[in-house]
Amino acid sequence: MSQPDRSRGSELSLPELGIALSKSQPAPSAELGARIRTECTKDLQPARGLSPLARVGISLVAMLAVCAFVLLKRPSGATSSVLLGIAGWVVVMVGVLLAGASPKRLPRQLRLAIAVLVPVAFFGSLALFSSEWLPLGAFMTEHAHAAAGCSQQAMLFGALTSGIMLFTWRGTDPFSPALTGSLLGLGGGVAGALAIGVACPSGETWHLWLGHGIGVVLFAAVGSLIGRRWLAP
């Protein structure tokens, strides 16, 4: 390891810079080391946690169980096209889950893009599948009450799913817990929206956006806040 050339103070190269800084790297005190050792080795037992695969499995079961529960209770009016759309979104949900929580982490920009684009695409698909459109004023005076009821149920299912997923993945991501939390919340929010989508016969655009879709955005945001605390070790 060569010494930096002290006669050329302004000419340090990058490797020299690293060497020079490393040489001045201070060590923690021995007393602190002893304290840490005591804390970290007291009654040390083998630690067994859930594997990443098990966590993915639990999250998938939570998402699919919510959809399946409502699917079984669905009114007879649910059409095959709606079910097909739901099946498509289940595939997207699995993708979001894997992007958010898989140990083989996707690049941060891609995960960020997913967190933004999936809600946009979900709202777009709701608009695409809607069969009726009312002016916002008319909707607020006549149909807002029904949308509020759907919204409550979507929130309930979404909270259940997101909660299970965030709890399952707690303490696993020190790198970007807020983003991971957002993606897990997004997955739960979509599950809640799909669940209510099966049960609700309404096809009005504002109803779908505000009653069914708003939970997707909300849970992505709440997931980010909770993830920051829960998902970081």
């Binding site: 302004s10 790297q25 840490i36 970290c40 070790p233």
Partner: protein
């Protein structure tokens, strides 16, 4: 079981950091000792540059290892240990800073700006000392990028993961930080003449 753990401990010096962590997860105390010996200085150096305060850095080092201990069951076997540990250290620092906003990192406990560290007899002519002080003057993002890549020895991709940014951004921060260091050391050289 205990015997096999002891047998494994005999070859700890040949283990990688990741293997040491795996043995620690399996309950081998000696593996923790070796793991601490190999990594604590790097983590402490990183925390010291973040906090610019030895006592706070020591507190955070203890918090970091405490968190590593509690989260050891969730460590992904085989995954690079140092970026994982540094990310925990960084998050501990951010949490601590958030919870003590009034105690800004540039202020000492009595709320005054700390005097720049100088050697006895005025400004040191030692390049390394000047470099150290110039690094402390850098914006935190540049300082962290240089610390992680040039001192701790992480790859650009690993540093980007710890910092929650892109590899390109890390390269840019290192480059800009390096340019600032060169300028700072150039000034120092002129002052010293």
């Amino acid at each position: 079981m205990a015997e096999s753990v002891e047998l494994q401990d005999s070859a700890l010096s040949d283990c990688t950091i990741e293997q040491l962590m795996e043995r620690y997860v399996d309950g081998a105390e000696l593996a923790f000792d070796e793991l601490y010996r190999r990594t604590s200085q790097k983590i402490f150096g990183y925390l010291l540059r973040l906090t610019r305060h030895r006592e706070r850095a020591e507190d955070l080092l203890q918090i970091t290892f405490s968190k590593i201990h509690r989260a050891r069951a969730r460590y992904l076997r085989g995954a690079p240990f140092l970026p994982w540990a540094l990310a925990i250290a960084r998050r501990s620092f951010l949490d601590e800073r958030r919870s003590a906003k009034s105690r800004h990192e540039d202020l000492s406990y009595d709320g005054t700006l700390p005097e720049p560290k100088q050697q006895e007899g005025g400004l040191s002519l030692d390049v390394q000392d000047a470099l150290e002080r110039a690094v402390m003057e850098l914006p935190q993002s540049y300082r962290e990028a240089i610390e992680l890549t040039k001192v701790t020895g992480l790859s650009v991709a690993e540093a980007a993961e710890v910092l929650g940014t892109t590899p390109t951004a890390v390269k840019l921060r290192v480059h800009r930080g390096y340019n600032q260091l060169r300028a700072a050391l150039s000034d120092f050289k002129r002052d010293a003449k």
